[in-house]
């Protein structure tokens, strides 16, 4: 299964250390492979350095792709986290 969703980074400081940490903590709960792409770069959604390396700030649109049995649930959870501004 492959699921893809586009979300906007709404929290003010973008993919900062704390949001990246929260993203990884959520992503690793799923078996699916998670990829996050932005501006021609793509990163492993389970790697904090990968996510920080996207250098994505507020207003950037990220594409989250999950591949695996729980792809739908993973994409929903991760998109929800990003849309919520990382629960802040």
């Amino acid at each position: 299964m492959r699921e893809e969703i586009e979300v906007e980074l709404v929290n003010e400081q973008g993919m900062h250390t704390r949001p990246a940490k929260l993203f990884v903590e959520t992503a690793v709960k799923f078996a699916s492979e998670i990829e996050v792409s932005y501006d021609g770069l793509s990163a492993n959604g389970k790697s904090i350095m990968g996510l920080l390396g996207l250098l994505a700030y507020r207003g950037c649109r990220l594409v989250i792709t999950a591949t695996g049995d729980d792809a739908k649930a993973a994409v929903d959870a991760l998109a929800g986290l990003v849309r919520s501004g990382f629960n802040e």
Binding site: Q13, H16, N44, S47, M49, G50, G53, L55, Y57, E88
Partner: protein, 595 residues
């Protein structure tokens, strides 16, 4: 013999005078880590060494995290992010790849990897993104230390009386140092509100930041005098200077004790004229210290910190509510508690930081102007304040707008505040209607219309730092003109007198919360002009109260009247010095400020 008495300057962020030996902590970029090529057969060993160092470093952070559990400023989540970075598969893979393909040892591979990331991060203009790089640097430095067999002991066990010098200190390092009774901290990087500074404050370690040339002038073991009040370092002071500072620091400690015991006495002059001495605070947990130092109220509670280093990406209503609630819960009552709405430069403001820089930020969209341009963020703060007020209806609660330029601007801000109040009432919050709304007087034009503002404002606070900067067109940070920044300039004094009079005539409270309140001569002149309320960092309060008890109002009024006839700041200062004579020299208040 090294050169004597080299002065270095930075920003004093935690006060206190200490004398100690320099202990240099090298960050990843300064230290000559062991870098060598390896033989092909060494590759596996090197990979094992790397993996072991990763796990050891991870465990070090785990240990620090455990020690920290339950502390009020728990930076545990930062440490967790650092742990996650250490074990990051991509980071490890890139280091391992370099070890094998380039045949270099683990240290070198870590440095190369760090360098590659640095290049990537620092290309970006965005301040927030650049800051993220410091997290990776902390992690890699820890890894390098572990690889070099230094483990964490290099940092945790500095020699006794050490004054630590580092490019920057991670929150973890600062905590460990704080527990090891270091005498002082010096960092090359600036930043008054970093996590490191917060922790140094909590441990009361005298600290100076932004001493950019420290590594050029200080060697391991050099004797240092660190003056955390003034942000001054003296490298290799001669015997005479050492004895002066040693005596000063001893006397400060002794005097501190004696004054602290008297700090609870009400502020007044020798003739019994009451003078309110209030505290300027940055953090809610400083409030007990403020009370212990004799604060008769909070004249200024800054809220910028929540925007700058709160781990939230932007402070929302709940954050403001929690913060003010924590503040008020600890305030035993008596005297005002004055909250200032955020006073940020555009470069520090989350929404505008990544936009093009303003050509002239001091004259640009900052402070209240930013708040009015982003009403949802302004309202989040105001609603947070008011919700917390609902829990403490008996307190003298005040909200103050910074950088007010005109009556219209004040009314606009006040209308937004009242709108929040009405909304909350409808939502069922029991917000008291007794809170006061006031303005900071820090623009020359605002000073001159104090009488008009007084019809709308319920109190004023003079912000002397910006006032002097704007009135004299001097940037204090620009060393070419910094000497022209003079609070005793007759033009400044006349404006302040005008404001004090106008407020007095209208029966509106007026106070001062700028640095001018912390300097004895200007403070006395303000007293002589009729000001009866001074707000300052808690550390100054016992000194100020003590000094005030030595002066008679009638004499100060007479001196002030003459001082105001003098044409230059230097004349005024010389006249006051001469007139006050030994009383000024005897006050420890001036001693902690002056050489």
């Amino acid at each position: 013999m090294s050169i004597r008495n080299v002065y270095l300057f930075g920003q004093g962020v935690v006060p206190g005078i200490v004398i100690g030996r320099a202990h240099l902590i090298q960050g990843a970029s300064q230290y000559a880590w062991n870098q060598r090529h390896i033989a092909p057969e060494e590759g596996t060993d090197e990979l094992d060494r790397l993996r072991l160092a990763v796990e050891m470093s991870w465990q070090q952070l785990e240990d620090i995290k455990e020690q920290l559990a339950g502390e009020s400023k728990d930076p545990g989540h930062i440490l967790e992010a650092h742990q996650m970075m250490l074990r990051d598969a991509e980071l490890q893979a890139s280091i391992e790849k370099l070890i094998i393909s380039e045949r270099i040892n683990a240290e070198w591979a870590v440095l190369r990897t760090l360098g590659a990331w640095e290049e990537r991060f620092l290309r970006i203009e965005n301040e927030y993104i650049r800051e993220r790089f410091s997290d990776l640097r902390f992690v890699c430095t820890r890894l390098l230390r572990t690889l070099s067999g230094q483990t964490a002991t290099e940092v945790t066990a500095p020699p006794p009386d050490a004054i630590i010098i580092a490019q920057e200190l991670s929150p973890a390092d600062t905590i460990l140092l704080g527990r090891n009774a270091v005498a002082g901290l010096i960092t090359l990087r600036g930043g008054k509100t970093s996590h490191t500074v917060i922790i140094a404050k909590a441990f009361e370690i005298p600290t100076v930041v932004g001493v950019s040339r420290a590594f050029e002038h200080v060697g391991e073991g050099d004797l240092l005098v660190l003056n955390g009040h003034k942000g001054e370092i003296i490298v290799n002071p001669d015997a005479k200077l050492v004895s002066v500072y040693r005596a000063q620091s001893h006397r400060l400690i002794a005097k501190d004790q004696a004054l602290l015991e008297k700090a609870h006495l009400p502020g007044m002059t020798a003739d019994g004229t009451p003078v309110h001495v209030l505290a300027n605070l940055d953090f809610a947990d400083e409030i007990l210290k403020a009370k212990g130092h004799g604060a008769e109220g909070i004249g200024l509670y800054r809220t910028e910190f929540l925007f700058m280093v709160h781990e939230k990406d932007i402070a929302d209503e709940q954050v403001h509510y929690q913060d003010v609630r924590e503040l008020l819960e600890r305030w035993p009552g008596g005297g005002p508690v004055t909250l200032r709405t955020f006073d940020l430069g555009g470069d520090k403001f989350p929404l505008t930081a990544q936009l093009a820089r303003e050509a002239n930020p001091a004259l640009g969209q900052r402070s209240l102007r930013l708040a009015l341009a982003h009403p949802h963020i302004f309202k989040a703060q105001l609603r947070g304040f008011l919700r917390a007020f609902a829990l403490f209806p008996h307190l003298d609660l005040r909200i103050m707008f910074p950088l007010v330029a005109s009556v219209r601007e004040f009314l606009t801000a006040r209308e937004i505040l009242l709108e929040c109040y009405r909304e909350l009432c409808i939502e069922g919050h029991d917000v008291p209607d007794t809170f006061k709304i006031g303005a900071m007087l820090e623009l020359p034009a605002a000073m001159m219309i104090t009488d008009m503002l007084a019809r709308e404002c319920q109190f004023f606070s003079i912000g002397s730092n910006d006032l002097i900067q704007y009135a004299l067109a001097v940037d204090r940070g620009n060393e070419k003109v910094a000497h022209m920044y003079r609070g005793l300039h007759p033009g400044i004094l006349r404006m302040v007198r005008h404001a004090i009079r106008a407020a007095g005539e209208a029966g509106v409270d007026i106070s001062i919360c700028g640095d001018l309140a912390t300097e004895p001569i200007p403070a006395l002149i303000l007293l002589g002009m009729g000001l009866r309320s001074f707000s300052m960092p808690p550390v100054f309060i016992p000194y100020a109260k003590d000094f005030l008890r030595t002066v008679h109002l009638a004499e100060i009024e007479e001196l002030t009247a003459h001082a105001l006839t003098l044409p230059c700041a230097d004349d005024i200062e010389a006249f006051m010095r001469q007139s006050l004579g030994h009383r000024l020299q005897d006050t420890f208040w001036s001693e902690i400020l002056e050489k």
